[in-house]
């Protein structure tokens, strides 16, 4: 009879059939078998019976849960229930920036997104302080606001019923302006409930409309000519234009181009991003300035001038002078409006010094830039992984160890809980604990862990169910004979 297995192999998958039985050894080992004594069972049962506690009758809810059969299904249902319960409490609200009260560090950037309005500030951590500051500024600048009110009334403009929106940058401007107007008496501080009535001029005010944007960007490029032409192309694409350009190419040293650009405000950030891609960014500054106050002041001036022109119809010389002033003011107003439409961008392009070690021309330079960028991206990713991996590993490891410990104590040793009940309770605990301790990231990590755990248990259950039925039992001796 040829061997049906390789007896020298230790790989379990190569043992496809039971090894042939050894009758001698089998008989020898069978001599160890010991039948219980004749009257043993009755005695055994007498001892056993008091230890058998009656099975706990199951409630209909437990029977219903049992019908689900699958722990993953229960876990998922529990997770969904928890999320459904938590959403109304506001813990899981998304899309609302939580911590933007402080200006970002690093790149100096101030945009409308970073300005907090009063109503939002009140909802933020520490928002009470911001709101109180804003309220103080409003009270301090009340005369100025009343001036603006007057202009609005004169022009009989419709006042909308929208709530006031007042930005932090705007408040700073108001504060500065109030300091300069010393001739005006300081207004008494207003009570909070009176403020809405006193400042209707600010209704419908949208800060983004009055922001003048400008930026300074220093980029090191491989080829200055190419970069310049790509900037020109960008301007054509986005409706901007080059105000001025200056290029210097010294015999020794780096070639530099200084370009002043005007870009439509809505394409401002896109253009910056595009320019950044042409090389390596060396410096970057983005600024915003609120022109609302200047515009309002100018509006008042123009109105006053018009009134004076109308009143001085007899005195032609004075009227001409007034009209000239009026035209100047209007020109300035147009300039302001132009500034509001178009953002300024001062660009400094520097050509990279040629490498000493290789000179493969454009291809080599592009390759070097790309490699450099890829290396930077990889390093950034690596740093992210290194930063986030240890806490995640610790968290998952601890969670897994605690699970094993609880299972050992509560299920195996004390037999207080079934594994299914423990797994549900544990998953719920895993959801609740980080939610109570931390923020959104922990919540996501917990959900991920719960999902992985659930998927693992689910796959195991499915595999268990799909496992083929075992073949009819054949004793090793029988198989040997066949």
């Amino acid at each position: 009879m040829s061997p049906v297995f390789d007896e020298n192999s230790e790989k379990s998958e190569e043992w496809t059939q039971d090894p042939p039985a050894d009758p001698g050894l089998h008989t020898l080992l069978q001599s160890l078998k010991q039948e219980p004594p004749a009257d043993y069972f009755e005695q055994f049962w007498t001892e056993l019976q008091p230890q058998l506690t009656p099975a706990v009758s199951e409630s209909w809810a437990l029977r219903l849960l049992r019908q689900l059969k699958s722990p993953p299904a229960l876990s998922v249902a529990a997770a969904v229930l928890v999320i459904a319960l938590l959403i109304p409490t506001g813990v899981l609200k998304t899309g609302q920036p939580l911590l933007q009260a402080e200006a970002p560090t690093g790149v100096q950037e101030q945009t409308e997104a970073q300005s907090l309005d009063t109503s939002r500030a009140k909802t933020l951590p520490g928002g009470g302080r911001v709101a109180a500051r804003n309220e103080g500024l409003i009270a301090q600048n009340q005369p100025l606001l009343e001036d603006a009110n007057r202009v609005e009334r004169d022009q009989d403009k419709a006042v909308t019923e929208e709530p006031m929106v007042l930005g932090a940058a705007r408040q700073d401007l108001l504060a500065e302006d109030a300091k300069t107007k010393e001739e005006r008496p300081a207004a008494p501080a207003l009570k909070k409930d009176n403020q809405a009535r006193k400042i209707p001029i600010l209704q419908g005010y949208n800060q983004a409309d009055y922001l003048v944007k400008s930026a300074t960007l220093g980029v090191e490029v491989a080829r200055l000519d190419q970069a310049f032409s790509s900037v020109s192309k960008l301007m054509t694409e986005h409706g901007g234009y080059i105000v001025s350009s200056e290029m210097s190419r010294p015999e020794e040293g780096t070639a530099t181009a200084r370009i002043s650009l005007k870009v439509p405000k809505q394409h401002f950030l896109t253009v910056i991003e595009q320019i950044e891609k042409t090389g390596e960014v060396r410096s970057k500054q983005i600024r915003s300035e609120d022109l609302w106050l200047q515009l309002q002041r100018q509006k008042i001036e123009i109105d006053d001038l018009q009134t004076q022109v109308n009143e001085n119809k007899e005195n032609k010389a004075q009227q001409r002078a007034l009209k000239r002033q009026l035209r100047e003011q209007e020109l300035q107003r147009q300039e302001f409006e132009q500034m509001l439409r178009m953002a300024s961008l001062d660009l400094v392009l520097t050509q990279k010094a040629p490498s000493r070690f290789w000179s493969l021309g454009d291809v080599g330079e592009q390759l070097r830039v790309r490699l450099n960028r890829a290396l930077q991206d990889t390093l950034r990713m690596l740093v992210n992984i290194l930063v986030f991996l240890p806490p995640l590993l610790i968290y998952f490891g601890c969670a897994w160890l605690i699970w094993l410990l609880l299972k050992l104590v509560l299920v195996t040793r004390l037999e207080l809980l079934s594994p299914r009940a423990l797994s549900i309770a544990y998953l719920l605990g895993l959801l609740f604990f980080p939610l109570a301790m931390g923020g959104k990231d922990l919540f996501r990590a917990t959900l991920l862990f719960a999902a992985l755990l659930t998927a693992g248990v689910g796959i195991k259950t499915l595999l268990g169910r799909l496992r083929k039925p075992e073949p009819p039992a054949v004793a090793p001796a029988d198989q040997e004979e066949t």
């Binding site: 192999s9 050894l25 055994f44 009656p54």
Partner: protein, 200 residues
């Protein structure tokens, strides 16, 4: 050639499943019948691992208490046998482990001479006890995994697939372990083969 009687097996399984159903609903008599059916097999298996009768009794009590508690949660009644063996094996292992912790250093070598009513003469009894002791010692030298496989396959006469189900490992692993365990046992018990031939 021995063929398994599949019809009989199915009848037995159906009967067992009915008993288990009744036991799950709290029928003590049905549970008693189940205990009666499986107790001798478990006794034999546990006795091979732990020869002391008192210990075997304690272990079996513990096993059936566990079975009674966990029976309402048993879904796949076809796998009852392997489930029961698994509980017994684990309980016996735990017992051995705790006894090992309690009783270091090991006991001196003594022959387990059991006075039965077999009518054997003392020399025969001594010889049988000696052989038994040597076999137990040989089994003791095996690793726990090999020992479990030998107990289930050689003593309880489960096939490799059933043993794999009890031990919760692939059947190929059981076959491999069985092969090497047999090989080692044959080496250790070689004198008995030499003296008594193939059927000692």
């Amino acid at each position: 050639m021995i063929q398994p009687d599949n019809n009989k097996r199915t009848d037995v399984n159906n009967e067992l499943i009915q008993k288990l159903n009744r036991a799950q609903q709290g029928d003590q008599q049905a549970f008693k019948e189940v205990v009666k059916e499986f107790m001798p097999q478990l006794y034999s298996m546990v006795h091979a691992m732990i020869p002391q009768h008192e210990d075997v009794n304690d272990i079996l009590q513990e096993v059936f208490v566990k079975v009674h508690r966990a029976l309402p949660q048993l879904q796949n009644k076809q796998a009852f046998r392997s489930w029961l063996y698994r509980i017994a094996l684990n309980t016996a292992r735990n017992h051995l482990r705790s006894r090992f912790r309690r009783e270091l250093p090991t006991e001196p070598e003594t022959f387990l001479l059991e006075t039965g009513e077999s009518g054997e003469k003392l020399p025969e009894q001594l010889e049988r006890a000696e052989i038994r002791q040597r076999i137990l010692q040989a089994i003791e030298t095996l690793s726990p995994e090999h020992r479990d496989v030998v107990t289930l396959v050689e003593l309880e006469e489960l096939n490799c697939a059933e043993a794999a189900e009890v031990l919760e490992c692939p059947a190929g692993t059981v076959r491999s372990r069985l092969h090497y365990a047999r090989k080692k046992l044959k080496e250790l018990l070689q004198p008995y083969f030499a003296n008594k031939g193939e059927s000692p």
